[in-house]
């Protein structure tokens, strides 16, 4: 894959917090191609969230070069090239579901009619029809996170950054949202970078799993996931699924993670 088609291209990225402080990231090299679904997995403190924020230009790397869509990460952020989803839904309590989804569109100066149209599409896409007038605190955690994903998708960014989006949800809700996320990814043809600490989630969702280890945070291995698409509930019972889960677990151990 050449650099020109890479959605994300990181070259020897390092990040140190504080004066002579914590080595959050060390010598990270990563290429993400168009349409890939990449999971960053590792124990807490391995810098996976920091790497995601470096890609999103929310944290500045101490050294190294990062390109998003062939331009600097800073330029890409100003061009609104990506949508982001956090572990907490981070919805604005004072806005209804519809207005939360429309927030990026408002900031980007879309007119009212366009916003209303997009919101309607997204409510439908995320199966939130009928909830547009609700306030976030009237929704369950799973629904809040769906609103948050709808908001990230509202301006149709080609790149989606997700920081443990389902980490705070129960297992059932998480699995359902996994399926929905894959459906949307297939439908929109977007590129996803997904931070998680769940091995099965990473294997189930991804085209490649990037395994990281802590202190200093670095990439110890990359596991390609060759499970057939589209993935369904049966995928989780596929023997190949378990093999890959084992492979990722061993990679984590080899990287020094205590699981």
């Amino acid at each position: 894959m050449s650099t020109s088609e890479a959605v994300v291209s990181a070259r020897s990225i390092s990040k140190t917090f504080g004066k002579g402080g914590v080595n959050a990231l060390q010598d990270i090299d990563l290429e993400v191609g168009q349409g890939e679904f990449i999971s960053l997995i590792g124990p807490s403190g391995c810098g996976k969230s920091t790497l995601l924020r470096v890609i999103g230009d929310l944290v500045e790397p101490s050294s190294g070069e990062i390109l998003v869509n062939g331009k600097s990460a800073h330029r890409a952020r100003l061009d609104r090239d990506y949508g982001i989803v956090f572990q907490a839904a981070v919805l604005y309590d004072w806005r209804t579901v519809a207005k939360n989804i429309a927030l990026p569109l408002e900031l980007m100066g879309y007119d009212r009619a366009t916003r209303a149209g997009r919101v309607r599409e997204l409510l439908h896409l995320m199966e939130l029809d009928g909830f547009e007038k609700h306030y976030p605190w009237q929704l369950s955690g799973g629904m809040q996170q769906r609103v948050s994903i709808a908001r990230a998708l509202s301006f149709s960014p080609a790149l989606l950054l997700m920081d443990e989006p389902f980490g705070a949800l129960d297992e059932m809700t998480r699995e359902r949202l996994n399926v929905e996320l894959l459906r949307i990814w297939a439908e929109l043809g977007s590129t996803v970078i997904f931070v998680t600490h769940s091995i099965s989630e990473a294997v189930y969702l991804s085209t490649r799993v990037v395994v990281m280890s802590p202190r200093p945070g670095r990439i110890t291995s990359v596991v390609p996931i060759d499970l057939p698409q589209p993935r369904t509930f049966e995928t989780r019972e596929d023997p190949r699924f378990f093999e890959l889960v084992t492979q990722v677990r061993e990679a984590l151990h080899a990287g020094g993670a205590e699981l």
């Binding site: 999103g56 929310l58 952020r77 100003l78 061009d79 609104r80 990506y82 949508g83 982001i84 956090f86 907490a88 981070v90 604005y92 309590d93 004072w94 806005r95 927030l103 990026p104 408002e106 900031l107 980007m108 306030y135 605190w137």
Partner: protein, 286 residues
């Protein structure tokens, strides 16, 4: 729906019970002290502690034969004082918010300006009121001199701005860091972050300040009327009835009651506006 009606009924019942309880306390205290003749902390009689029904009754008596009821005068006076307090509240809230926004934005000001803002509130309002109200009466801008009530409104504003400033600073800084990060991810400008995130996030803090400020602005208006002998407001009546306390004690109590009711109405208006404007999970609202 039935539960909403039920809870409204319960509230009214509680209100009536509390009022009855207060009445029973007042009258019970009176009766006990009068019966026993206790003189501490003070001797109880019709002058020191008029009956509650006499105080309320005074409102529905004419001051002099053939004149309108006292309640009529009280209503006019309350409206006059309400105008001073409302204008003072608006000015104070605006100045308070502006100061708070500047302090929240420029950390340097926290140290540079905050001490003086705090000092301004340690000066007794009774010491400042005559200087401002009388002093501004001698000011002439192109031949225009601020009217009496406008000068009193300045005192009300003086008491209003402080809580608003303090809570604006806290409120504007209360935005969730993740919510700020989200704004950054959209490359939102500083104004957009201010209006779409920081200000809405500050509203519960602002309304807490408005509740304090609403009652303080009424107190400020009443006190502002005292040194300048403005007769049209509640302050004027307080001075007047104070001089005749030995003759008609219940009149002074009655005007105090009206002043309290005015303060409570101001508070309730703020609560009502808050209900209409602020949408938050019920447990966050205070």
């Amino acid at each position: 729906m039935t539960s909403r009606i039920g809870s409204a009924a319960a509230r009214i019942a509680v209100l009536v019970l509390v009022l009855l309880g207060l009445w029973a306390l007042w009258e019970g205290y009176r009766a006990l002290w009068e019966e026993t003749g206790w003189t501490r902390p003070f001797r109880v009689n019709a002058t020191t502690m008029p009956h509650l029904h006499d105080i309320v009754g005074a409102l529905f008596d004419p001051l002099r034969e053939g004149e309108p009821l006292l309640a009529r005068f009280m209503l006019d006076a309350a409206l006059f004082t309400a105008k001073e307090a409302a204008v003072g509240f608006a000015i104070g809230a605006a100045i308070g918010f502006l100061l708070g926004a500047l302090i929240a934005r420029f950390a340097v000001l926290q140290r540079g300006v905050m001490p003086y803002i705090i000092a301004s509130q340690t000066i007794p309002i009774l010491a400042i009121a005559p200087i401002v109200v009388v002093g501004l009466g001698n000011v002439s801008i192109l031949g225009w001199t601020p009217k009496d009530w406008m000068r009193v409104a300045v005192i009300a504003a003086y008491l209003t701005f402080f809580p608003v400033t303090v809570n604006t600073v806290r409120g504007l800084r209360s935005a969730d860091p993740a919510a700020v990060e989200l704004m950054e991810s959209y490359a939102a400008g500083e104004w957009a972050v201010f209006w779409k995130l920081r200000v809405p996030a500050s509203l519960p803090y602002l309304f807490s300040a408005f509740k304090v400020a609403a009652t303080a602005s009424v107190v400020g208006a009443v006190i502002g009327e005292l040194p300048s002998s403005i007769q049209s407001g509640l302050g004027g009546w307080i001075i007047n009835f104070n001089q005749y306390y030995a003759l008609d004690p219940e009149n002074l109590w009655a005007v105090n009651l009206v002043a309290a009711l005015l303060g409570i109405s101001f508070f309730l208006v703020v609560v009502l506006v808050e209900k209409l404007v602020v949408h938050r999970p019920p447990e966050i609202l205070v």
